[in-house]
């Protein structure tokens, strides 16, 4: 009887103690919210070091890109406590700052001697600042990203194709440096038989539902001379959004879609683009740089078969690329802000950032990307660096969502459905965006 009692007491104590210990551990766990994609897996791996160093456990809430904005913006708008840390899209920064979703990090950066001068300038403006170009920081640049291109190096180097291309277009088949050249290369490969299979020119963004076609069209429009507003008079868009140069840019994007994309590519974004390239359907592929590490490792199209190039120049020699990527922020509704700030401090460390890059994340820290060994560290590293030097981003206003929806509709109606003209689409866009800013009381 006595021994049974002892056993029971012992078991009860053990269970109580283990529950208490696990409760303590869980109380310190941080939840990080992000999109479900390859870099997120790298971050899980990287964060194990943080847990080792601090004893703070990390939990992750990853949501597929198609639901990423809906899911996390709902979470922030409802003041939810699910996320302690969030890697939010660059366009959210205005709304998140003005609606108080993110903790302002200026004092923390000053205290911990984290300087924004240590990060790639475009990423600081794109991911951290609101209002733009003011020293008000709401995030630490976490994942640099930009739209660039991959191409089938093995196809480009086939002697018979090189010969035929040179005869037809008068220049050597290679990564295009202008959009005109890009279209020529795409036309050359469209419906061509290579290794017994019909291939197509290029995969470009045409997705309607979230942000796809806007990211793709803007990637071209910037280099054609598109501007969001009068640089001297904010929110004045007439003659800038719908300038003649912008019209030409949008006409080019439609021409590229009509002539040189695979059949049925009317709703294609990051995933569909990767699939088209990986399955050997296309000679060139527009996509964010985050896809490159995965493609480089691919057995069928990676290694020596793949090459990378920066977004080409427009007709006047201007060259820009659409910014992607995100900063990491502390959610103001979190009860664990202190631990979350510890994570940001740890993440800003140079060694951690170097490991981040080696695992497949794109560091924004100058010390990493300006290291002499960086360009040779990966076949795509130099293209990434060159692309990050020419980035432009979509509106990051609190009303970015209706602004984005308007451009999605106007661009898709014209480019994919062929309704109206490029001028109609851009005139309509000015009208829609003006309405949004009027509703916001900004005009």
């Amino acid at each position: 009887m006595k021994s049974s009692l002892k056993l029971a007491l012992g078991l009860t104590s053990a269970i109580t103690a283990s529950t208490a210990v696990s409760n303590v551990a869980h109380a310190e766990d941080l939840t990080l919210c992000w999109a479900a994609w390859d870099p997120a897996n790298a971050l899980v791996e990287l964060s194990k070091d943080f847990t080792k160093e601090t004893g703070i456990g990390m939990k992750f809430e990853f949501v597929p890109w198609t639901n990423y904005a809906d899911r996390f913006l709902n979470e922030l708008n409802s003041h939810g406590k699910l996320c302690d840390l969030i890697i939010g899209d660059s366009q959210w920064i205005g709304g998140a700052a003005e609606n108080g979703h993110y903790v302002k990090l200026n004092d923390f950066f000053d205290k911990e001697k984290i300087s924004m001068d240590d990060f790639v300038p475009a990423t600081v403006v794109g991911y951290s600042e609101w209002p733009k170009n003011t020293p008000n920081y709401w995030a630490l640049p976490a994942m640099g990203d930009v739209v660039g291109w991959t191409y089938r190096k093995d196809w480009f180097s086939k002697p018979e194709l090189q010969k035929e291309f040179k005869e037809k277009y008068g220049w050597d088949l290679g990564p295009p440096t202008t959009f005109d050249q890009l279209k020529q290369v795409a036309e050359f490969f469209q419906k061509r038989e290579i290794d017994g299979k019909t291939v197509y020119g290029a995969s470009i963004y045409t997705e309607r539902g979230s942000e796809g076609i806007t990211m793709g069209a803007m990637d071209v429009l910037y280099s054609y001379g598109f501007q969001y507003e009068n640089p001297k008079k904010p929110y004045e868009m007439e003659g800038f959004v719908n300038s003649d140069k912008s019209v030409k840019g949008l006409e080019f994007y439609k021409a590229l879609y009509d002539c040189c994309t695979p059949p049925g590519a009317s709703n294609s974004y990051m995933g569909e683009g990767v699939d088209a390239f990986k399955s050997g359907q296309v000679a060139m592929h527009m996509n964010f740089a985050f896809t490159w590490p995965g493609l480089q490792k691919d057995e069928n199209v990676g290694g020596d078969k793949i090459g990378y190039f920066v977004n080409p120049k427009g007709p006047d020699g201007e060259q820009f690329a659409q910014l992607g990527g995100q900063g990491i922020s502390v959610v103001s509704y979190s009860d664990k802000q202190e631990a979350a700030l510890k994570y940001i401090k740890w993440f800003a460390n140079k060694d951690v950032q170097a490991k981040w890059w080696s695992l497949g994340g794109y560091s924004c820290l100058n010390a990493v990307v300006k290291d002499p060994g960086f360009p040779a560290s990966q076949p795509y590293a130099q293209t990434f660096l060159d692309s990050m030097a020419i980035v432009k981003d979509f509106w990051a206003e609190p009303s970015y969502a209706p602004l984005l929806q308007a451009s999605q509709k106007r661009f898709h109606d014209y480019v994919v459905a062929g309704q109206g003209s490029a001028k109609d689409a851009l005139d309509g866009l000015v009208k829609d965006w003006t309405q949004v800013f009027q509703d916001d009381g900004k005009m």
């Binding site: 708008n77 609606n99 309607r208 539902g209 009317s266 209706p402 929806q405 014209y414 062929g418």
Partner: protein, 315 residues
């Protein structure tokens, strides 16, 4: 036996509870039983409806909870009714509703009429025809998206086999003219069995002696169909049309899965526009007004239709 059971239950009820229950009238007891359901209905149906009506007169945005909510009067309604894109979405919806109902009624009634012949194996064929209706719309949407795929899809290959047009040129979901039909085909494939079931119930409800009397009068099969079968099955057909009409007016899942409203806005039905305004552009007040307009439209049309249905039944 029943009385004895009731007595046993009454005896087993603790005295304090029994006293309480004895003090409640039949009407009170009825209210006691239905009140949880009523409360639930009020919470999940009636309150949101009135809340949406209130929001429809404001500039409220769900993604800006801290912003001051202004009363806009009827401005949201005026803006919606004057918005060209909204009218295009309504036309797209009307086109979709018209063709799906027409095809589903024609095919559904024909199938029901054939099944009603009670040929050998008719039970097996009935079960087989009902399969699409039993599938989840998410499964059907994804399944047909692959079928429509121009490079690997079976649908494109089947059409190509018949027409000799290369399969890669049969772009059902990307082509502006074909995309609306791609949705109509899938919806018809999935929901014709439902119409067939209702029509079959109508056909089986026609008493056999009427046909026997017609036979005695030497009425031809054609005459029997027009004078007996169709008029007597008409209320059932109209009921099926009502159910499918209401469902297809608010069609969302299939369109979202197959085309997402594209290419461009060619398949953007009203519910897709509503979702975009409410959950992508976050115009909560504006989208509430649009939802109320849609609700009134469906409710009004359904009421007119039900009156017509009653008239047909009375004939």
């Amino acid at each position: 036996m029943l009385n004895r059971t009731a007595e046993n239950v009454a005896r087993a009820t603790p005295e304090p509870l029994a006293r309480k229950v004895r003090g409640i009238s039949d009407k009170g007891l009825a209210w006691l039983f239905i009140s949880p359901t009523i409360l639930l209905l009020l919470a999940i149906n009636i309150f949101p409806l009135f809340w949406a009506i209130y929001l429809s007169f404001t500039n409220y945005r769900a993604n800006r909870p801290n912003e001051v909510v202004k009363n806009l009067g009827f401005a949201n309604y005026q803006r919606i009714l004057g918005d060209k894109d909204i009218w295009i979405a309504m036309q797209t919806t009307a086109h979709f509703v018209f063709w799906t109902i027409l095809l589903q009624t024609l095919i559904g009634f024909t199938l029901a009429w054939l099944i009603d012949r009670k040929f050998r194996g008719h039970a097996f064929w009935t079960t087989l025809i009902l399969v699409p209706m039993m599938l989840s719309p998410a499964v059907v949407g994804n399944f047909w998206r692959f079928l429509y795929e121009p490079q690997i899809g079976l649908f494109a290959y089947a059409i190509s086999f018949v027409t000799r047009i290369p399969p890669t040129d049969i772009q059902m979901l990307s082509n502006v003219s074909l995309a609306p039909w791609s949705i109509i085909i899938v919806d018809t494939w999935m929901w014709t069995p439902y119409v067939m079931l209702i029509c079959l119930a109508g056909l089986r409800s026609i008493p056999e002696y009427i046909y026997e009397a017609a036979e005695v009068d030497r009425a031809s099969n054609w005459r029997q169909f027009w004078s007996i079968t169709l008029p007597m099955a008409l209320p059932f057909i109209m009921l099926a049309v009502l159910f499918r009409g209401i469902e297809n007016f608010k069609m969302f899942d299939m369109v979202n899965l197959l085309t997402g409203g594209g290419p461009g806005s060619t398949t953007e039905v009203a519910s897709i526009t509503l979702k975009r305004q409410a959950f992508e552009s976050w115009r909560t007040g504006y989208s509430s007004a649009f939802a109320i307009i849609l609700f009134v439209a469906v409710f009004g049309l359904a009421n007119i239709y039900v009156k017509a249905l009653n008239k047909v039944k009375q004939r």
